[in-house]
């Protein structure tokens, strides 16, 4: 037991320095005079190895991977098909930003602000996830999907009507504290965390519930607890991703968190393969890079073909490759070797 514990700490420390080094490699070296600049460094116009544009796409990739993995918990592991995940992301984003604006004093050190922001964002999101999880216990399949879609939209419309956070016009001047280092670190930690859950007894129960909820009940396990807990964890992670999003963009608009976003996250899972963590990662990566790559086409042809290609791809994959890239028809999903 002790050995395992040490291994995890070692792993996390390793992630920390690995992410930090990657950030330096890609963004350029900061001045070592201030701890803030070391941890929070972002590239200027022409300082790093890659342009700030690609840098921000990599950050977006990280955020999408966290979102995708968070949905895998709910969808791929536990079998609960939800269509309102963007709502949790929105709560995390707005909660964290509001905390920055109204609650946390200016003078707090930056890294403390970031940690608090992430915790508040994830925490409030988890709270809402708890409430929603309890309400939808009785439902499954299509109905669960529709209800969660409803919840997602209600969350969005409610935020839209809160003037204090900018309402319909969006929230501006959010402190931009996220850089590639923090995102990479978070992605690695979240993936590790999800893997641990999957390999634990807890995770096995989730899969059992997915297969046949009635049977698990007959075996004496109460699926209710597991389902609600899965909701809480999943929404916490989504809220975390939302907070990261807010603190990397600096600007929030409720339009970003519509049903289309929820569907994008579902697509990441489905294309990657339901139930596979590697699939979630690859799905998230693909669905971040492909639209940006196709933007180049847009410059050539002048027409925005991205969404059409996107929609076609999803439909075709559903018809011809329904188990996704890493999923499997026989029940065992494929994973990267280090995630097995």
């Amino acid at each position: 037991m002790k050995l395992q514990f040490n291994k995890t700490i070692f792993l996390i420390l390793g992630f920390f320095f690995f992410s930090l080094l990657m950030n330096w490699a890609l963004a350029g070296f900061p001045s070592f005079s201030e701890i803030n600049s070391i941890l929070f460094f972002k590239p200027g116009r022409s300082e790093g190895l890659i342009s700030p544009y690609i840098y921000s796409i990599l950050i977006l990739l990280g955020i999408n991977v966290i979102l995708s993995v968070s949905l895998t918990l709910l969808n791929g592991f536990c079998g609960m098909f939800t269509m309102g995940h963007a709502g949790f992301m929105a709560i995390g984003a707005y909660a964290s930003s509001s905390a920055m604006m109204f609650l946390i004093p200016e003078a707090t050190p930056l890294f403390l602000k970031l940690i608090l922001g992430l915790l508040i964002g994830g925490g409030i999101s988890a709270l809402i996830g708890f409430l929603i999880g309890i309400s939808v216990l009785r439902l499954n399949g299509d109905y669960l999907g529709m209800v969660t879609l409803g919840f997602g939209e209600i969350i969005r419309i409610t935020i839209l009507n809160i003037d204090a956070v900018g309402g319909a016009r969006g929230m501006t001047d959010i402190p931009q504290m996220i850089n590639l280092f923090s995102i990479m670190f978070l992605v690695l930690v979240v993936v590790l965390f999800t893997k641990r859950i999957r390999d634990s007894k807890y995770g096995r129960t989730m899969f059992a519930i997915k297969e046949n909820e009635l049977a698990t009940r007959l075996m004496g396990i109460n699926p209710t607890n597991i389902k609600v807990q899965t909701f809480v964890i999943s929404s916490f992670l989504a809220g975390l991703a939302g907070a990261c999003f807010a603190h990397s963009e600096g600007y929030l608009s409720t339009q970003t968190f519509s049903f289309v976003k929820s569907f994008e996250i579902i697509a990441m899972n489905v294309i990657g393969g339901l139930g596979s963590i590697s699939g979630a990662i690859i799905g998230g990566a693909l669905l971040t890079i492909l639209p940006e790559g196709f933007r180049v086409l847009q410059d050539f042809t002048g027409i925005d073909l991205r969404m059409i290609i996107y929609a076609l791809t999803i439909t075709l994959i559903m018809i011809f490759l329904p188990q996704g890239l890493f999923g499997s028809k026989k029940g065992k999903v494929k994973e990267f070797p280090w995630l097995k």
Binding site: G44, R45, S51, P52, Y53, I54, S56, I57, G167, A168, R169, G170, T172, D173, E249, G250, Y251, S253, Q255, T256, G272, I282, A285, L286, I289, L290, E292, G293, F294, R295, V296, D299, D304, L321, L325, F326
Partner: protein, 382 residues
Amino acid sequence: MFGFMKKNVGKTLLVLSVGVLFSCFDSKKSDTIVIGNYGSMTGSEATFGLSTRDGILLAMEQLNAQGGINGKKVELKVYDNQGKPEEARLSVEKLINVDNVVAILGEVASTRSLAAAPVAQQYKVPMISPSSTNPEVTKKGDYIFRVCFIDPFQGSVMAKFAFNSLKLKKAVILRDSKSDYSVGLADYFIKTFTTELTGSIVADEKYQSGDVDFKAQLTSIKGKDFDFIFLPGYYTEVGLLARQARELGITKPILGGDGWDSPTLFEVGGDALNNTYISNHFSPDDPRPEVVAYVKTYKERFGVVPDGLSSAGYDAANVLFAAMKKAPSLKGEDLRNAIADTKNFPGVTGLLSLNENRDAVKSAVILKIENGKFNYLETVNP
């Protein structure tokens, strides 16, 4: 074989897309000066973006025909943000980091200018908004400019016009809660109307851009005792609102601002727009010689009479070009200082001087809508 392909589909797609992404980074080291324009070329405010772009194009073509900036031609990179603020931010990020522009012209809608301005400020690239009137825009930083008046002025213009010229004392406000412009202009109107003058606000309703059905709000308004409606929104909703108001039997005058300025307004609103008035930046009936020449050239180039948006775009571009000629170099700080120095510039939308807040001090025109067109009424000086 198929299994092999299937197995590697994911990796292949990934590699392909990464390749595509990286391939779009050949920084052009050419002999042209690149400037950027971001706007809403599609969506409910499509005419704003398209008109502004056309005005900028005209100015640029005229400049290049005369040799450009110290011999170098100017090139324009245009991005459509589809009317979405997040896309506006992204467009400006791309203009700065991918296309390496030296300056940016845009946007029309204050909400989108507000979303994008921090990016320009962060990377120290001067941004000139042609028609964003919300005062918050230039407060985003000293690299953000505008060549139009701001809403505290515009609001007071319409308030005074309604009260003094049309003798209307009781107003109903109908604002677009999705637009910083609409909300701000409504507030400034109310401020002048109720505190400086002795008007009263009978009702304050809201809608959202994108709505098509306003019968609910209009029905609540109908029952009240009022003299006119103040509708500081954008042309698509204004047209629909005017129609539905008249259908419900509301015949009182409707007043608005520069957000109405679009040929599509008449397509949507038709006859419902009779008995309405707006404040604006520009009137094509302006007798000044430079305006007459401009209207003629614009009509030859684009086939239509220019509206306020294209004229503002034209002026913004020309102010930028004048500054570029004056500045010791085109680097951020030098260019910024040169723009800030703009005084008494003869624009087609009026005589332009930028004050210490980087806003333009200039006059507004009041137009009346009759029989499907804007008719010039009067000019109001600041």
